[in-house]
Structure formats: structure tokens, C-alpha cells
């Protein structure tokens, strides 16, 4: 119960802080056609969070703002969502993926070089996926050959979140082709300003450019930038991939729950009064609301189990599928209710999650969660094979 009390105290304190510190105009600043505004707004928000001590609850206790329990981390994400503060889009990879990888697997030198920089706004991106290694990540082919104290790296990466703005990159490369595909992968830290690196933003179907392709042409990376042993990078990558521990879903689900009013707003925008909405619409809103409540409850249970070390195989896949489907159905209903007005609304807000209130944008954007980070199809394989224990297919 002492833990509960600590969380409650944190919430009270954080609510007060958020009331003071959330920039009121961030949606305007982060409008889709204003990249400079977006970058500035994100930097400002990071520095406030760092100063407040809320940017690094998951870091080791010796760091300012660090050493918080998972329950406290959950509380922070929930409160930030409920205050409708900006998402940490630009710095999420730095604060989570990069920092946790360095803390768990990096050398003291690597930590000393990057962790303080991250707090000051060093931007990281992830160089994992490749055009031909998406769902099947381990089949990646970007080559690194060792020459003396350097690796010479050539290849192509894709789907690096905001990679066009990154200073540094968590890079997976192949150093050995002779064994099973998971063996022979090496994990490197790459300066994005190195010679031979070119990052090009990918325009998405929303019009937004939230990802980048990275082209690597004989890029030299010092061996001291390697994390873990040569050919053993797959293990390090697992640390990177599990670094956010479900907190993103906590946040996204809260944002979804708290934007349910937007659905009603969409339905009543054509001058309908709420009690005159047609019965089918009302029933659908009830269904979406029910699934949101269910998802909230499911995530609370997942996080509780995670805290208690009781998480079961596949729990995360079940939740990811549930959120993915719900985000699609939620935005599809909003789109339908908003009708022609949604077709004409082509403005959007960067870094606002899947509920910007621009229904067409949000609907399109909902594919992201259904595809990235293990598509629905991959998650269904996991749920059927590892949860339901159905027979594996013999793959060729």
C-alpha cells in the first residue's frame, strides 16, 4: 500500500505541474505544415519535462528524475495523456530505446558520451527495418565489414521514426552470413553526420513525414561504437525493442478514451442534437465506448502483471491487436459520422497521436499501429501459436 500512496502523491504533484507547464498552443505550433514549429515545440517540451523530472522516470536512480517504479511510470504517462500534453515524438527513441540499450548493454564510455546529451536533446533514431526485412526483421542485409578499428557499412534502412532529424542512430548490421539469420547481426551506434549517410523522409498516406529511409554508402563506424559483441547484436536489439515496456500503449489508450467526446462531436456536427442521433449511431458509440473501457482495463492488468513479474507469453500481442483494431474502428466511425466535412479537412497536427480530431488523418494514421511493430498478421501468428498453441506451419 505504500507504493499506492507514492503513486497517488506523484499524480497530485504532476497534475499541478502539468496545469502550469503544458503549452496551451502546442497544437498550433505542431501543425502539419510547420516543421520548425514542431521541432521547437518538442525541444521546449523536453526541456520542461527534464527540468520537472518527468522525462526519465525509467532511468537508473542515479540520474535526475530516474529510479521510478513501473507503477509511477504508468501514472506519468496517464497523467500526461489526460492533460492532453504533446506526445514526446521527437525524443521518444532517445529517452527509451537509446537510453535503455546503453544503460543495459553499453560501455561506460558510451553511456557517458550519450546519456547526458540525450537529456539535453540529442535525437536518436532506429536503423533496424529494411525494405526486404520488415516483419521478418532478422533477414536484414545491411553489410558491415571490419577494417582495423572501423566497420565499413553499406545498405539501406527504412521506417526510422523522424530519422531525418536524428543526430544518432541505433543500427543493426550483418557481419556474418554463414549461420542462422539471427546470428551474425551486430549492433552499432552511428553518428548521422558521418560521411555516406543520407536520410530521406518518407511521405506517408496522411501527407505527414514521420519516418525516414536511411541510405548507407561505405559509412565508417568506429569499433568502439559497437554495443555488445560482434555477431551478437540480435540480443541487444531485443533489449531495445522491449525498452518502452507498454508505456506507449498506456498513453495511446488514455488518449483514445479521452477523445471519445470527439465521436459524439462528429455525430452532432451537422446540427443534430444528441438525443436525436439515429439509433444505429448511438449503438455504435456504445460499442466503441465499451471496447475502450475494456482495453483500458486490459492494459491496467497487463501493467500490473508486468510489475508482479506475472506476464504471460503473448499478452502483449493480444493487447496490440486489440488496440490496433479499436483505433481503426474508432477512426472509421468518426470518419463516417463527419462525412463530407472530413473530406475537406486536410490540415493535421504532428505528434498528436491517433486522435487529432482530423478524422481522415486519424483514420489513415491508424494503419500505422496495424502494420508497424509487428503487423496484425504477425501478432495473429504469435497469438495462435504461442497462446493457443496451435501447430506451427512448416515454412519453406
Amino acid at each position: 500500500m505504500r507504493e499506492d500512496r507514492k503513486v497517488t502523491d506523484l499524480r497530485v504533484e504532476l497534475r499541478a505541474w502539468l496545469a502550469e507547464n503544458v503549452p496551451k498552443d502546442w497544437r498550433t505550433q505542431q501543425a502539419g505544415d510547420n516543421i520548425e514549429g514542431f521541432l521547437a515545440s518538442q525541444r521546449e517540451w523536453l526541456s520542461r519535462l527534464v527540468k520537472g523530472g518527468y522525462a526519465t522516470p525509467h532511468w537508473a536512480p542515479e540520474w535526475p528524475g530516474g529510479g521510478r517504479s513501473l507503477a509511477e511510470q504508468v501514472a506519468i504517462f496517464e497523467e500526461i495523456a489526460r492533460a492532453d500534453a504533446p506526445r514526446m515524438s521527437l525524443f521518444f527513441v532517445s529517452l527509451y530505446h537509446a537510453a535503455m540499450t546503453l544503460m543495459e548493454c553499453g560501455t561506460p564510455e558510451q553511456r557517458a558520451r550519450h546519456l547526458p546529451a540525450i537529456l539535453k536533446g540529442e535525437i536518436w533514431c532506429q536503423g533496424f527495418s529494411e525494405p526486404n526485412a520488415g516483419s521478418d526483421l532478422a533477414s536484414l542485409r545491411t553489410r558491415a565489414e571490419r577494417k582495423g578499428d572501423r566497420y565499413i557499412v553499406s545498405g539501406q534502412k527504412i521506417w526510422s521514426t523522424l530519422g531525418q532529424f536524428a543526430d544518432q542512430c541505433l543500427l543493426l548490421v550483418r557481419t556474418d552470413n554463414s549461420g542462422p539469420k539471427q546470428v551474425g547481426i551486430t549492433f552499432l551506434l552511428m553518428d548521422m553526420k558521418s560521411k555516406g549517410v543520407q536520410a530521406r523522409p518518407i511521405k506517408q498516406i496522411t501527407g505527414d513525414e514521420e519516418f525516414a529511409e536511411i541510405f548507407l554508402d561505405e559509412v565508417e563506424i568506429p569499433v568502439e561504437n559497437r554495443v555488445g559483441e560482434e555477431n551478437e547484436g540480435w540480443k541487444v536489439a531485443q533489449v531495445t525493442l522491449s525498452s518502452e515496456r507498454g508505456l506507449t500503449l498506456v498513453e495511446l489508450t488514455e488518449r483514445l478514451a479521452l477523445s471519445l467526446w470527439r465521436l459524439v462531436e462528429a455525430a452532432t456536427a451537422n446540427g443534430h442534437e444528441i438525443d436525436r442521433l439515429d439509433v444505429e449511431v448511438r449503438r455504435r458509440v456504445v460499442d466503441i465506448a465499451s471496447r475502450i473501457e475494456a482495453l483500458r482495463a486490459m492494459i491496467a492488468t497487463l501493467m500490473a502483471n508486468r510489475m508482479a513479474g506475472r506476464e504471460a507469453v503473448g499478452d502483449a500481442s493480444i493487447i496490440k491487436l486489440a488496440y490496433a483494431r479499436l483505433s481503426r474502428d474508432f477512426t472509421a466511425l468518426g470518419l463516417r459520422l463527419r462525412g463530407m466535412a472530413a473530406q475537406r479537412d486536410t490540415r493535421y497536427v504532428l505528434g498528436a497521436g491517433y486522435e487529432t480530431g482530423n478524422w481522415m488523418f486519424d483514420f489513415m494514421n491508424s494503419y500505422q499501429y496495424n502494420i508497424a511493430g509487428g503487423s496484425n498478421e504477425i501478432q495473429r501468428n504469435i497469438v495462435s501459436e504461442r497462446v493457443l498453441m496451435m501447430p506451427r506451419e512448416k515454412l519453406a
Binding site: 479521452l258 471519445l260 467526446w261 465521436l263 459524439v264 444528441i274 438525443d275 442521433l277 439509433v279 448511438r282 449503438r283 458509440v285 456504445v286 460499442d287 465506448a289 465499451s290 471496447r291 473501457e293 475494456a294 482495453l295 483500458r296 482495463a297 486490459m298 491496467a300 492488468t301 497487463l302 500490473a304 502483471n305 504471460a312 499478452d315 493480444i318 491487436l321 486489440a322 483494431r325 498478421e377 501478432q379 495473429r380 501468428n381 497469438v383 495462435s384 501459436e385 497462446v387 493457443l388 498453441m389 496451435m390 501447430p391 506451427r392 506451419e393 512448416k394
Partner: protein, 354 residues
């Protein structure tokens, strides 16, 4: 994923084990599909012997003072076993009668505690001192000793009819769902005693309790149905491999699993809310029921398809689940009507950004 139950002193998992043992022992789910029928009277007696009816009764009355969440695993196991008995009406009635101070209420309360009264609940318009009406389909109507009448005229008191008295006829009613027993209750000039609790207080409590009981029953049965389907698909060979290795079937099963776990998470949450009468407990109970019966329906409908020909036979058990699911869907109000009932309040909460 299993939840945490900080509200009760009795361990949920122990209750579940006890329930599963009893039900495994006493319920032959095939019986009503052969020559037998789904008369749950013996099972109700067994449940009373185990003291399940005391679980949520207040301690000062000799009950165990547990919250609703102690009942959840029992309802879930009853669904899993396709138990032919219902406990929910009696337990829901207890939630109402605990609030009552009338003489009639006290007498009934004593009988409930000693385990000699079994309730069936019905809503009705308005009540007189004597009742002349027919309820065409009440689950557990044969096993019940008392009828609790909830007047929809909100300010009117609830009524109790002793079903052992003259003027009451209970006739079994056959339905496609043989896993449950139904009766038509005809009351001819039957005396009705008044409680002090009004319909306005009682109806939301009883509805929520019954919605949650239905949710758990459905979740238990749905999970069993999915498990048995997955097991079957792992053994049935076609084209030289188990049909459970075909990806199209695997993906459908995975989607069902997600739907089921989502429904279960809401049932856990809604049960806690009801136990504490916290927040939107009344809406949440209805929402939990909707997701659970929808999942149950979808899983069992596809289960027959995934079994292929054998699933289409009377001999094989998968239709037992389907038929229970189709009844559960509409038993305490068709799902559209439940949605219509709660939509205003759900929409109002959305607008308050809760």
C-alpha cells in the same frame, strides 16, 4: 491474464477450484441433449450445501460478507460447465433484500441465509396485493421458491410472491437451448407481500448483477468452446496435416482470443466497479455483458464452421455452446435494447471526458 482481488478475504482461485470440482462432478452437459432434461434443482441444492449463497450476504446476517468479485469465478465456472442451474437471481435478490427493513424482507432474508429460498426475478409494471398475470419464460422458474417482482413504476415497492402457495403454476418451457431450464409462471390471484425497497433502487442493482453474471457465464463457456475447438483442430487431419496448422483458421482463432480477452478484462473491471458501487457501475455491467455475449456468440458460431461436418452433428458437443450463446445473447433483453438503454448515459459520460 488474471486480475487481483483486494476486496475479499476468500481467495478467488480457491472458489474457482471448488466450483470446478463440484461442476465436473455433478454436471453432465450432454444429459439434456439425450433423454434427460436441464432441471437444475439438484445442482442448486449442491451449491447451497457448499454455502455459495452465503458468499455475498452481509456478515451481521450470518453471511460471509464478500463482494461481488467472489461470485465471478463461480459464474464463470458455471458457464464453462454449461451448468443447467442459475444462481444469479437469488444472489441479485440478496443484494436488494440486504437494503430492506420490512417484515416480509426479514423473513425472506432468513430463508435465503438458511438456503431454503431460491429466487426468480421478474420486472413488471405496477403491483397490487394480489397478482394475476403470466410470465411466459423465466429461467430457473421451476427451481425457485419465491418470485421477486420489480415494478418499473420506480417509486413503487418491490413485491414477493411465495411460489409454494396456491394459485401458482410453473410449466416447463422447451427452447433450443437445452442447457438451461425455463418455466412459464402463471399467477392466479396470488398474494404479494411488499418490501420497503422500491423498483427504482432495485432494478439497476438486479440488472447489473444479472448482466455481470451473464457476462461471466458467457466468458466461461466461450473460453471452453474456443479451447475445445483449438484442440479439435490440432487433431483433425486433412491434406496430410492438422487443420489447426492452416493459417486462415489460426488467424480466426487468434481474433476470437483477442475478443474474448478484451471482454474478460471489462468483466473484471465492471465487477469491481459493481462491488464498490463505484463510478458508472450500472453502465459498465451492461457493457461487460454486451462484449461477453458478443464474443461468446462469435466464437461459438465460428466453432461449428471450424469443426466442419462433425460440428454440424447432434452427437458432437460444439452446438451445445452455440445454442447457449444464442440464448445468452437475448436472455435478459436483446443486445440492441441493452445498447439503447445505456446509450444516453454513455454518451453523456463521453461528453464529460471521463
Amino acid at each position: 491474464m488474471s486480475g487481483v482481488d483486494a476486496m475479499n478475504t476468500i481467495d478467488q482461485e480457491e472458489l474457482r477450484d471448488a466450483a470446478r470440482r463440484l461442476l465436473t462432478d455433478k454436471v453432465d452437459r450432454r444429459a439434456p441433449w439425450g433423454e434427460g432434461e436441464a432441471d437444475g434443482r439438484a445442482l442448486v441444492r449442491d451449491m447451497v450445501e457448499l454455502g455459495w449463497h452465503l458468499l455475498t450476504a452481509p456478515e451481521e446476517l450470518g453471511g460471509l460478507g464478500q463482494s461481488f468479485t467472489a461470485l465471478a469465478p463461480i459464474y464463470e465456472e458455471m458457464g464453462r460447465a454449461l451448468a443447467p442451474a442459475t444462481l444469479a437471481d437469488t444472489m441479485a435478490a440478496l443484494d436488494v433484500i440486504s437494503l430492506d427493513d420490512s417484515v416480509a424482507g426479514a423473513a425472506l432474508r432468513d430463508r435465503l441465509i438458511e438456503g431454503s429460498a431460491h429466487i426468480v426475478v421478474a420486472e413488471c409494471g405496477s403491483l397490487g396485493p394480489r397478482i394475476d398475470t403470466t410470465f411466459p419464460l423465466l429461467e430457473g422458474g421451476l427451481a425457485a421458491t419465491h418470485l421477486l417482482l420489480l415494478p418499473t413504476a420506480a417509486e413503487e415497492s418491490c413485491g414477493i410472491v411465495d411460489l409454494g402457495r396456491e394459485g401458482v403454476t410453473a410449466t416447463p418451457v422447451e427452447t433450443w437451448d437445452r442447457s438451461r431450464s425455463f418455466a412459464e409462471l402463471a399467477l392466479h390471484d396470488a398474494p404479494c407481500e411488499r418490501l420497503q425497497v422500491t423498483g427504482g433502487v432495485a432494478i439497476p442493482l438486479v440488472r447489473a448483477h444479472k448482466d455481470l453474471a451473464m457476462a461471466w457465464d458467457s466468458l466461461g463457456a466461450a473460453r471452453r468452446s474456443l479451447d475445445e475447438t483449438v484442440t479439435y483442430m490440432g487433431t483433425r487431419q486433412q491434406f496430410g496435416r492438422p487443420i489447426g496448422s492452416f493459417q486462415a483458421l489460426k488467424h480466426r482463432a487468434a481474433d476470437h482470443k483477442v475478443t474474448l480477452e478484451l471482454a474478460r478484462a471489462l468483466a473484471v473491471h465492471a465487477s469491481q466497479a459493481y462491488a464498490l458501487r463505484d463510478g458508472a457501475w450500472s453502465d459498465l455491467a451492461a457493457q461487460a455483458r454486451l462484449l461477453a455475449t458478443d464474443a461468446f456468440h462469435a466464437i461459438t458460431e465460428d466453432s461449428v464452421q471450424m469443426h466442419g461436418g462433425i460440428g454440424f452433428t447432434w452427437e458432437f458437443d460444439c452446438h451445445l455452446f452455440l445454442k447457449r450463446a444464442l440464448m445468452s445473447d437475448i436472455l435478459n433483453g436483446a443486445p440492441e435494447l441493452v445498447r439503447d438503454r445505456i446509450s444516453s448515459s454513455v454518451i453523456a459520460r463521453a461528453l464529460r471526458r471521463e
